[in-house]
Amino acid sequence: MGWQFFFDPEVLRQMVFVATPLVLAAQGELLIQRSGILNVSIEGMMALGAVVGFLVAYVTGAKLFGLVAAALAAAILGLVLGYAAITLHAPQLTIGLALFILGTGLSSLLYRMVIGLRFLPPMIATFPAVEVPVLSELPIVGRWLFRVPAPSYVVIGVVAIMHLFLFHTTIGLRVRATGENPRCADSLGIPVTRLRYACLMIGGMLIGVAGALLPMMLTGTYSEGMVGGRGWISLMLVILGRWVPFGTLMGAWLFGYVDALQYRLGLTIQTVPPQFMLMLPYVFVVLVAIRAYRGAQAPQALLKPYDREARA
């Protein structure tokens, strides 16, 4: 097993592929955190997005409807978090955890109520790989980057848009200011509450779509617990990427790489029990977290509710 094994184009293609939902969820969380709210319910939002997206796609047969429904469902959870955290100044962490549990419970309940118990789980067609005409013929890079399903390309576009939005638009500047010093932003006439709600909604939608991509890209079916910690990992990716869109993209690819490698290793090495291979990504992110937290500087107003008339 030489070095080629680790740089096998198929592993790299898998990396981009499996990282896609992570990238998207991390973008959503990044936007939310930039506005000063810590959303720890991503895992629950993704679970809800996964089941709603799957069900709507299964029933209507159109994946687009599924994606839209998933976005709306997760945004509703975001709205609850927003009402509690922004309007009522409730502790974001506890509300977030409760919403995470709620999302998890609700998603499997919805699946059971619509589908019921079946011996064979219903399937939907997954997004097919799209080969970009000329680029996919490029040596190495072509197979690596340009033969993945459509959402993977779109998601990279989302990263670029998020970057442009945050750093090259006036609203992006206002969002950043809101996450750092809401009092300052407010005294300059920036609608802090509305901005935070908007970020939470849009971020929640991205997270919901990310959840819907799990059945639509990876498995074709829904199974309980299919999010498998990806929400939490996205949360860490935001920190690892230092609240910068392209930083989180890199982090997500790194995780995607380990996941793809783990899968590949499991196929190659039969002597190690599969459970240990499956553990690998989780152990890996814990190790990466050490790097992520070193010197990380979160938006200063993160976790702090803003009350205009509170006297400092």
Partner: protein, 335 residues
Amino acid sequence: MYVAALAAALAINTLVIAILRHDPWVAYKTALNDSLGSIGGFAQTLNRMTPLLLVAITFSLSRQVGLANIGMDGQIYVGGVLATGIGLSLAPAGLPAWQMVPLVLAGGAMAGAAFVLIAGVLRAAWGVSEIFTTVMLNFVAAYLVEFLCTGPWNDPTAGEAITYPIPRTAALPMLITRGGAHTGVLLACAVAVLTWGLLYRTVPGYEMRAVGANARAALIAGIGVTRVQLIALTLGGGLSGLAGAIEVAGVHERLLVGLTPGYGFMGILVAVLARYHPLVLIPVSFAFAVLVAGSDSLQRTVGFPASAVFLVQALVVIVIMVVEALRARRERYVI
């Protein structure tokens, strides 16, 4: 307010049962009977309450020092693993029950403590958020259990992912023999009272609460913040490990993949509702145990999905938190 929350939860529950095309009235009657109305049901409730209470104490302890340990499921798993391991490996020695049971329980507690210590050390040394590491370690522990249940310890005669049974001498003594309630619930309640004593009647407990209330003020007052946090975290992890050992020694008498049906997350809700107060945890965890036992019953009779209980519980907690926040907004006052 609590009535409103319960009413909301009940309404959702009823809706779900109605959608599943069953008579809610009949369903609730069975559920009530199977959780509180009969000896067997009551015993089930007590058995459910034991891990819930211990896990809620774990989360409360971590919150009391300003951390959030949400990896209780993982700690239950590793506690169960070591408890099973001790039980299986000491089986040939033929120790009497009074030696065997404490060994198994202590093993579970130690495993849980050691497991959470990973997160604790990462937090102390590099500031890695324990929320993240504990939840990731949940997955590691779950895969470990799956490996043991399907691999080395698998009982081939069972045909499922479960291990060989532990010896009878390692089983917890029964509290209500007819319903199958084990004595773990007494142990859990004792732990809750002891935790209360620790937090509110001793200096280390005072230091823990001070750290949780304001870590920087505590630091300025000469309290070793990191040390106090590590101790509370480890203690809590031990309790969750103990819960795992009790599940093994009291309920299943072996290790299995579904050792915890999400007790860890339910424990978070219990603790939030009880505002992390160890004594309040006892009635709240009992109430939640009734819900769990009742939903077990609904699962058997009307095919009520197991995970729905999460929804109901989380809903209760969210409604109560929102109502409390609404009230707090009205009575802002300063001397």
